[in-house]
């Protein structure tokens, strides 16, 4: 996978994020790293920076001193705590006196789990330093934030993203047309993971890489055509809209909350009167809340689709 093939192996190779990289380099020089929080949008180099820091710090044998855990995959804090304990208990024997524990997607931990982690962090500070990675630092509880040095990652600026893609294209001997490059940037918006995956997928098809191939690849990759579903409902075809919804949930395994998030985004882009947008926002919020109470995703969301059918009819009548 190209995301891995081209993932930087040293802080020197990380694109942009200069301030962050400089501070991390100073940690390497001092052979001391505080607990850290890396926060920022997806595909901006958070995990990469953590891994690079470790590689620069420990050298080629770094794996022995680093542990990577993904909070979204590890069920329950107990798993995390036990793993951390056994990992942190034994001292590092090298020049650097501590090991590094990377806890990725830490914002997916409940606050209870984070509370428990707080004690573990304190107890083992001597032997283990934590790098917590999150999309929103706000979801990390205060007491943990106060123990960590914060680092804010931002989307890569256009020209850096362009260079990145060109660099891969060159290495893979691909010809990529300008409008293709633009399309990738437009769709990925500074998320290099997505940009790289789109590029690799387009390359696998073996056609010239231009705007058309990029959009067709992305279109096929994203069956969660939320916009299409909403428009179908607005046009009065409830049964078809419901079928689209059903496919998203059952065939492609999308979570109800993800779909709701997307619906919320799309709603304000719809061509309906503002009065209806606000009304719909209220309904979407209600559905969001009901899902928390254990109700069924499809049933709740299809009630929402029925409201859209109503809105569509209302609009037609009004015009």
């Amino acid at each position: 996978m190209w995301t891995e093939k081209y993932r930087p192996r040293s802080l020197n190779d990380i694109v942009d994020q200069e301030e962050i990289v400089n501070r991390l380099k100073s940690f390497v020089k001092a052979k001391n790293v505080p607990h850290c929080i890396f926060a920022g949008p997806p595909g901006t180099g958070k995990t990469t920076a953590a891994l690079c820091l470790a590689q620069d710090l420990y050298g080629p044998g770094y794996r022995e001193y680093v542990m990577e855990l993904n909070a979204s995959d590890e069920r329950g804090i107990n798993v995390v705590r036990e793993t951390v304990k056994t990992f942190a208990r034994t001292k590092s024997i090298g020049e650097v006196s501590f090991k590094i524990l990377i806890l990725d997607e830490a914002d997916n931990m409940t606050s209870d789990a984070q509370q428990a982690l707080r004690r573990t962090m304190e107890r083992y500070t001597e032997t283990a330093r934590f790098i917590l990675i999150a999309n929103y630092s706000g979801k990390i509880i205060e007491p943990i934030q106060s123990r960590c040095a914060p680092f804010r990652f931002t989307y890569l600026p256009m020209e850096h993203a362009i260079n990145w893609i060109k660099h891969i294209a060159e290495n893979e001997k691909l010809t990529i047309e300008d409008d293709g490059l633009e399309a990738i940037l437009e769709i990925s918006g500074g998320d290099l993971r997505r940009a790289t995956n789109i590029l690799q997928t387009a390359a696998s098809v073996g056609k010239p890489i231009n705007e058309e191939t990029i959009y067709s690849v992305v279109g096929r990759a994203n069956p969660s055509d939320v916009q299409g579903m909403l428009l179908t409902a607005l046009n009065g075809n409830f049964v078809e809209a419901r079928k689209k919804l059903r496919d998203m949930i059952l065939k492609y395994g999308l979570a109800g909350t993800d779909i709701i998030g997307q619906i919320h985004n799309e709603t304000f882009k719809l061509n309906v009167p503002d009065k209806w947008k606000v009304k719909l926002a209220d309904i979407i919020g209600e559905v969001d809340f009901r899902l928390l109470q254990g109700s069924n995703e499809e049933i709740q969301l299809s009630a929402l689709l029925a409201k859209l059918v109503e809105a569509g009819a209302d609009i037609k009548r009004g015009q």
Binding site: M1, T3, E4, P42, T47, L51, E68, N70, A71, S72, D73, D104, E105, N108, R193, R194, N197, I198, Q200, T201, S204, V205, G206, V217, R220, A221, N222, P223, G236, F238, V239, R242, R246, L250, K251, Y252, G253, D258, R290, Q293, G294, S295, N296, E298, I299, Q300, S302, A303, L305, A306, K307, V309, E310, G312, A313, D314
Partner: protein, 408 residues
């Protein structure tokens, strides 16, 4: 001719007992110890949910080893005298013909209340001195009444076999019976049995009585145990009810599974109701009904079921004008079928997601969202990359095929 299939297809050897490999290994280890001398724990206490094969395992064990099974059920060990009498005969080392004996105290849960403690105490005494291996079975070994008894037993847990294991057994029975069954049909039976092989086999027999073909639709009646026209009648009684109480009564009149009935109403509402405002009102009623069902799930307060019924019947009936646009046939709810299919799919998706996540330093969820959609296209488009990447991600053939079959 009407032998129950649970008897007809009862496992004869321990090997044929479906699932619970570990438990079976423990049983074998324990019985082998008897070859030398009576082991420390002279009784084996098999416990687990109904219909998982506890009794059958004891029977099969005796059969495998050529032992004579002496069994007794609850009524025989209510009092200490009864136990003494039974155990006295049973625990003599061999039969007249030199066969060894295996003693089975089946269904210990059957001993009810404190009154029967005498019987339990006596069983404990028998275990201490027996010269023949003893097997006990119960659903819950941790019932406080068994606390003393438990100390003298080797515990073996029988877990619910998986849906796939049940499905495989059902498939085998069908092929013996010459029944051609749809995969989805067997899946649904297995799913609904939730680990109880006895009920799965019974359902299979009841549903395929006199049939050569078993379809998914045949099986979906499992829950309603009712005829199709009966459901159609309930549906039209609800959709077109004159009053809210008529609508509610429609449910009482018919003996149908509520969840299944809800699916029917939910599936059919948009076909019956064309007016957008009315459809929206009805769908909202169904959503509220579903909300109450969700609350039942999260609070375990079953009293709330009445509101679930209110909204799916009366709520639906009063929210529209009953002006139908001509006769529309009721449609079979397909969502349930898709759901049982997709559960298995989601399992495999998660496994693939974890494997990719490990390689790409992301969570399974992120892999499912950000990588798998692209991987599908790559696999379809490029054979060479497919091979390389499957090896790198360590995906087996099933996983690769899964990625290839679900088209974007």
């Amino acid at each position: 001719m009407n032998v129950p299939w649970t008897l007809k297809y009862k496992p004869q050897t321990l090997d044929e007992v479906v699932g619970n490999k570990e438990a079976k290994d423990t049983i074998l280890r324990w019985i082998r110890e008897w070859n030398k001398k009576p082991p420390k724990k002279r009784a084996l206490f098999i416990y687990g949910p109904p219909g998982t094969g506890k009794t059958v395992a004891a029977e099969a064990l005796a059969n495998d080893l050529g032992m004579e099974l002496v069994q007794s059920n609850a009524s025989n060990y209510r009092t200490s005298e009864a136990v003494q009498k039974f155990a006295g005969i049973a625990s003599q080392y061999t039969t007249l013909f030199g066969k060894k004996r295996l003693i089975l105290f089946d269904e210990l849960d059957g001993i009810a209340g404190n009154a029967d403690r005498g019987g339990l105490r006596e069983i404990t005494e028998v275990i201490k001195v027996t010269n023949s291996p003893i097997v006990l079975t119960a659903n819950n070994a941790y019932d406080p009444r068994f606390s003393t008894l438990r100390e003298h037993c080797q515990l073996v847990e029988f877990k619910k076999p998986t849906r796939t294991e049940i499905e495989t057994l059902l498939k085998k029975i069908c092929s013996y019976e010459g029944i051609e069954a749809e995969v989805e049909a067997l899946k649904l039976i297995a799913e609904r049995a939730s680990g109880d092989l006895r009920s799965a086999i019974n359902d299979l027999q009841a549903l395929s009585q006199g049939k050569k073909r078993l379809t998914y639709e045949d099986v979906s009646w499992l829950s309603t145990r009712d005829r199709k026209d009966a459901v159609f009648k309930v549906l039209s009684d609800i959709f077109y009810a004159r009053s809210s109480s008529d609508a509610r009564r429609a449910v009482d009149a018919a003996d149908v599974d509520l969840d299944m009935l809800f699916e029917w109403i939910y599936e059919n509402a948009p076909y019956q109701i064309k007016n957008p405002n009315e459809l929206s009102a009805v769908m909202e009623m169904l959503a509220v009904a579903d909300l109450y069902r969700g609350r039942i799930g999260s609070t375990q307060n079953w009293e709330l079921i009445r509101y679930f019924i209110d909204f799916m019947t009366a709520g639906v009936a009063v929210s529209w004008s009953h002006k139908s646009s001509g006769w529309v046939p009721f449609k079979f709810p397909t969502r349930i079928m898709m759901m049982s299919q997709s559960r298995a799919e989601r399992e495999i998706l998660t496994i693939i997601g974890l494997k990719i996540g490990k390689r790409c330093h992301i969570s399974a969820t992120c892999a499912i969202k950000e990588v798998i959609p692209y991987l599908r296209i790559i696999f379809q488009a490029n054979d060479k990359w497919k091979k390389g990447l499957s090896r790198w991600f360590d995906l087996d053939e099933d996983m690769v095929n899964y990625l290839l079959t679900v088209k974007n």
